[in-house]
């Protein structure tokens, strides 16, 4: 049922329909280049001045068998003329490059939504492979949707004919054709994509660059010339009214990388990054490997253990050592982390959480490593834990992690997740000069030095680095004397040292901001308490509920350990507390344990971010009961 939405005026001039917000989902085989298509559309959209949020959703298999449902890769973008915080609950437009993509994603498209279909791919074989009993284009499956059926493959082949590419190479351009069409539909500039293609292929394979650009332009032209009898709907999404400033699109991974570099600079230290590839954390290793000119040394270790150990060795030598992984890898690093805790060396551990346990859902997002971060070590080994809440916040959270690590001579865990790591958002680029310095003063030769002499205020031990004359000393994992730093098995000394290490970490609570309320009243009927990447969804749900007159507030915890000093008092001011988490209930245990509050969980463990509408419904339900 192809429907005409964009009316042409009698003079043929196109009338674009103005909409405030659109959610588009590109879906296809994992080899179809959907992530690339989405990323390019995102760049153009960011440059157009819309606010946006994205959600890349891809399978663990790199190239699953073609045409299968488990090989479907998708990229969703929500862009708007107003401030948005999530990639959107449901797509307004689904671009389905094959039957499997339609099969997987159709259930998310609301009735009346638009579906762009690459009809060439709807062969009997592909239809069967996707699990459809009959051809969905013919059996009424799509009756309630606006469908735009195009032979994208044929169109692409025609567009690149004569450009000297093979048939296979030509077919690989079909994602650019689809991107061109979407650029036309939503009035996006193609130039950023053209620039990108030329940069990527221009020198190496000029014919491939030409073919991709030709496909992009052909898709665009197809929309413009409206070859379909009913025309193609065309829209315009006005610019968002955002804070003046210089912006860029940023993913959580990029922001963490830049934050670590900035943190090291503010501390006056070199950054050493030891890591081992693991989804979804590897991209941080890739990003930092390209920042060597900023005092960064990267090291791909032989395993997770060597990764954390190399970082500890670098901190021992006077760098800020950083390691990163996802939950299973962090589990392997645990012994190393406790060594850094016992030896009181600075260290930052970045955990990009993913669906677990074990291999779990490597490419899907989850928040299920909070217990691991807060409690998951042998012995009395409390560590500061920071959870970044948006892609842009990853930058500041990483700086904060470095600051706490070097100020308190302790490992710090920085939690992100698969969603934050991959999702992009427009980011007002901060002025680095406004971030305060926290320069490290290494110990210098003086009377009475020993390695475990402590600062009276922070309780941090002094940091003397190898190479410093006169301060030769030995540290290690064995308990040491509070008074001399030498090995000590003395019972009272161990009690004292355990208490001092705990007090040091607890004292960080005096050096972090008090908990604020993100939205809503400072006391009332209901507080929705979240942490990490659920910030956007919870905030939008609470804002909408507030607009509907409900008595609800949003509290988002960034410092998961130690918790802000005022948090208990703040929570006591609400009748009910709802804790949405993408896990089976972890922060809620911590809150109940610390503050004895009657919190209730809202748990979604699907590997997908919360939908705003689900959270709104939950809020309404709590307030009505």
């Amino acid at each position: 049922m192809a429907t005409k939405l964009a009316e042409s005026r009698p003079d043929g001039e196109l009338q674009r329909k103005s909409v405030d917000a659109v959610v588009i989902r590109f879906a296809g085989d994992s080899g179809d280049g959907m992530q690339l298509t989405g990323t390019q559309f995102t760049q153009s959209t960011a440059l157009m001045g819309n606010d946006l949020a994205t959600f890349p959703d891809f399978p663990a298999e790199i190239r699953a068998p073609v045409g299968t449902t488990y090989g479907v890769s998708a990229f969703q973008i929500n862009f708007a003329s107003y401030d948005i915080m999530t990639p959107g609950d449901a797509p307004d437009v689904l671009v389905a490059m094959n039957p499997a993509a339609l099969k997987v994603h159709l259930r998310d498209v609301p009735k009346g939504g638009t579906i762009v279909l690459n009809t060439d791919a709807f062969t009997d074989r592909n239809i069967a492979k996707a699990g459809f009993g009959a051809n969905p284009l013919e059996d009424g499956t799509l009756d309630n949707y606006v469908t735009i059926e195009i032979d994208i493959q044929k169109m692409t082949l025609a567009a690149v004919a004569g450009l000297g590419v093979t048939n296979k190479e030509a077919l690989r351009c079909k994602n650019m054709w689809a991107l061109g069409l979407m650029c036309w539909m939503y009035d996006r500039d193609r130039q950023p994509t053209v620039d990108w293609i030329e940069q990527r292929f221009g020198k190496r394979a000029p014919e491939i660059a030409k073919a991709n650009i030709a496909a992009l332009n052909a898709g665009h032209a197809y929309g413009e010339t409206a070859e379909l009898p009913s025309g193609i709907p065309a829209y315009i999404v006005p610019k968002a009214d955002v804070q003046p400033g210089v912006y860029r699109a940023v993913t959580g991974t990029e922001a963490v990388a830049w934050g670590l570099v900035t943190g090291a600079r503010k501390a006056g230290l070199k950054l050493f990054f030891g890591s081992y590839p693991i989804t979804p954390a590897s991209s941080l290793l890739h990003t930092l490997s390209n920042l060597k000119q900023y005092g960064v040394t990267t090291f791909q270790a032989e395993d997770e253990i060597a990764a954390v150990c190399s970082a500890i060795g670098a901190s021992f030598a006077g760098s800020i050592g950083v390691t990163s992984s996802s939950g299973p890898g962090v589990a392997l690093k645990t012994e190393g982390i406790t060594l850094a805790f016992a030896a009181e060396l600075p260290l930052v551990i970045v955990n990009s959480q993913r669906g677990g346990p074990s291999t779990g859902l490597p490419t899907k997002t989850e928040q299920s490593d909070l217990y691991q971060a807060v409690y998951g070590r042998n012995a009395d080994s409390p560590l500061p834990v920071i959870a970044s809440c948006t892609a842009g916040d990853c930058f500041f959270a990483a700086i904060e992690a470095v600051r706490i690590a070097v100020t308190y001579m302790t490992p710090v865990i920085l939690l992100t997740d698969g969603y934050l790591a991959n999702a992009a958002e427009p980011w007002e680029i901060p002025d680095i000069d406004e971030v305060p310095d926290f320069k490290v003063d290494f110990a210098t030769a003086g009377e009475g030095f020993h390695p475990f002499l402590r600062d009276g205020k922070t309780l941090a031990r002094n940091w003397a680095v190898p190479g410093t004359p006169g301060l030769m000393h030995r540290i290690g994992g064995i308990e040491k004397s509070y008074d001399t730093g030498h090995i000590s098995y003395d019972p009272d000394n161990h009690h004292r040292m355990t208490k001092v290490r705990a007090a040091k970490v607890d004292g960080i609570a005096d050096d972090i901001p008090l908990q604020e309320v993100a939205s809503g009243p400072k006391s009332g009927r209901l507080a929705v308490v979240g942490w990490g990447s659920t910030f956007g969804a919870i905030n939008q749900a609470v804002e909408r509920s507030l607009a509907a007159g409900l008595d609800v507030a949003h509290i988002h915890i960034r410092h998961v350990w130690p918790l802000p000093r005022n948090l208990g008092e703040l929570l006591a001011g609400y009748e009910k507390i709802l804790v949405p988490e993408m896990n089976n209930g972890q922060l809620i245990t911590v809150l109940r344990d610390r503050f004895l509050v009657p919190a209730e969980g809202l748990n979604q463990i699907s590997g997908l971010p919360f939908k705003v509408s689900d959270l709104e419904a939950a809020i309404r339900e709590r307030l009505e009961s």
Binding site: P244, R248, D303, S319, R474
Partner: protein, 343 residues
């Protein structure tokens, strides 16, 4: 040790820390720490530039007894920690001390990779073929049939040969010596120190409590001459009280055989000459075991190449030259940005 004695005047004792040594009386580690301290004094090393990094086990207590920088870490991970320390500050002179369980069991992976990367560190393996600190279990270098608390009927897994393992990992410096051989060990330590890259040294060490005499069949003074072969680059591979025994290559089986000059038509020309740049020969020498063969001590292999830390810093320097760093504000503003104008 906060005293600033000029390096030229430092004596072996000046490299000893003020900590009481806690090894069992008669432990081979005493002899090794003495050799190391003597080596430091002979080399006039500035104590502040020297770092000892160890894992867990009896041997791993080593750093506490040196008046240098030291880091007693976790079981098996010393090579990984040392790699980070060396990359962070390539000027440091780093010595890794490991026992056989540390180096070849729990830490085998890190040993393999530190060696194959060729990180410029000295890796000392104190091989006593037993777990001491956990009270006597068999180790990955224990000989077949070793009776221990965990193998009351005798061990049934084949031991690993440390030098052959190191060569297999791509080591560019492999040597062997004996704890009590104070004439030999310091020389080997100096060679290891002079070598740029991962220098792997197996030090045969007697555990007086749990494996006493494990090596006495070839390390005792009376037995040494006929059961050890001192390998030196460019020298004939000869041994024995009379110096008339030697190693010949059996060209049919590509293996070594022990021959006596003057017997069965063997002449001096048949005896192999040691070439420490020959990896194949190093493998054959390292694999020789008592009593079928004399045990080879000395530098089995030395063939330097660019070190990992040098290569890492070369790439950093190349990056700096190609893309000079901007200030961080410019870094954040590189790539696609857009400006939202006020009002």
């Amino acid at each position: 040790m906060n005293v600033q004695t000029p390096v030229e005047q430092l004596k072996p004792a000046d490299y000893a820390s003020d900590q009481e040594v806690r090894w069992c009386p008669g432990c081979g580690d005493y002899a090794i720490v003495k050799s190391v301290q003597r080596t430091m004094a002979d080399l006039k090393l500035a104590p502040e530039n020297v770092v000892f990094i160890s894992g867990i086990g009896c041997a791993a207590r080593f750093p506490y007894y040196m008046a240098t920088y030291g880091f007693h870490t976790i079981h098996g991970r010393a090579p990984a920690i040392a790699t980070g320390t060396k990359l962070a500050n390539p000027d440091l002179d780093i010595w890794v001390v490991m026992g056989d369980g540390d180096c070849l069991s729990i830490g085998g992976n890190h040993t393999l990779h530190a060696i194959r990367r060729n990180v410029d560190i000295q890796m000392l393996l104190f091989n006593n073929e037993i777990y001491g600190l956990t009270k006597g279990q068999y180790s990955p270098t224990s000989r077949l049939g070793t009776r221990s608390p965990s193998t009351p009927q005798g061990s049934i897994d084949a031991p690993v040969n440390a030098t052959v393992f190191a060569l297999g990992a791509g080591a560019r410096f492999v040597a062997r010596s004996v704890d009590t051989n104070q004439k030999h060990l310091p020389g080997i330590l100096k060679r290891a120190h002079a070598h740029r890259g991962a220098s792997f040294v197996e030090i045969i060490q007697n555990c007086i409590v749990y494996n006493d005499g494990a090596f006495s069949g070839w390390t005792d003074k009376a037995a040494a001459a006929d059961s050890q072969i001192l390998v030196e680059h460019g020298q004939k591979l000869v041994f024995g009280k009379d110096g008339d025994r030697g190693l010949r290559l059996d060209r049919d089986s590509l293996s070594l055989e022990v021959v006596t000059v003057g017997e069965n038509g063997v002449t001096e020309d048949d005896i192999l000459v040691h070439d420490e740049t020959n990896r194949v020969l190093a493998n054959l020498l390292g694999a020789m075991e008592h009593p079928e063969f004399p045990v080879a001590i000395g530098v089995l292999y030395c063939n330097p190449a660019e070190t990992y830390d040098a290569a890492v810093h070369r790439q950093i320097a190349e990056t700096l030259e190609k893309t000079p760093p901007t200030d961080l504000n410019a870094m954040l503003r590189s790539g696609r940005t857009w400006t939202v104008a006020p009002g």
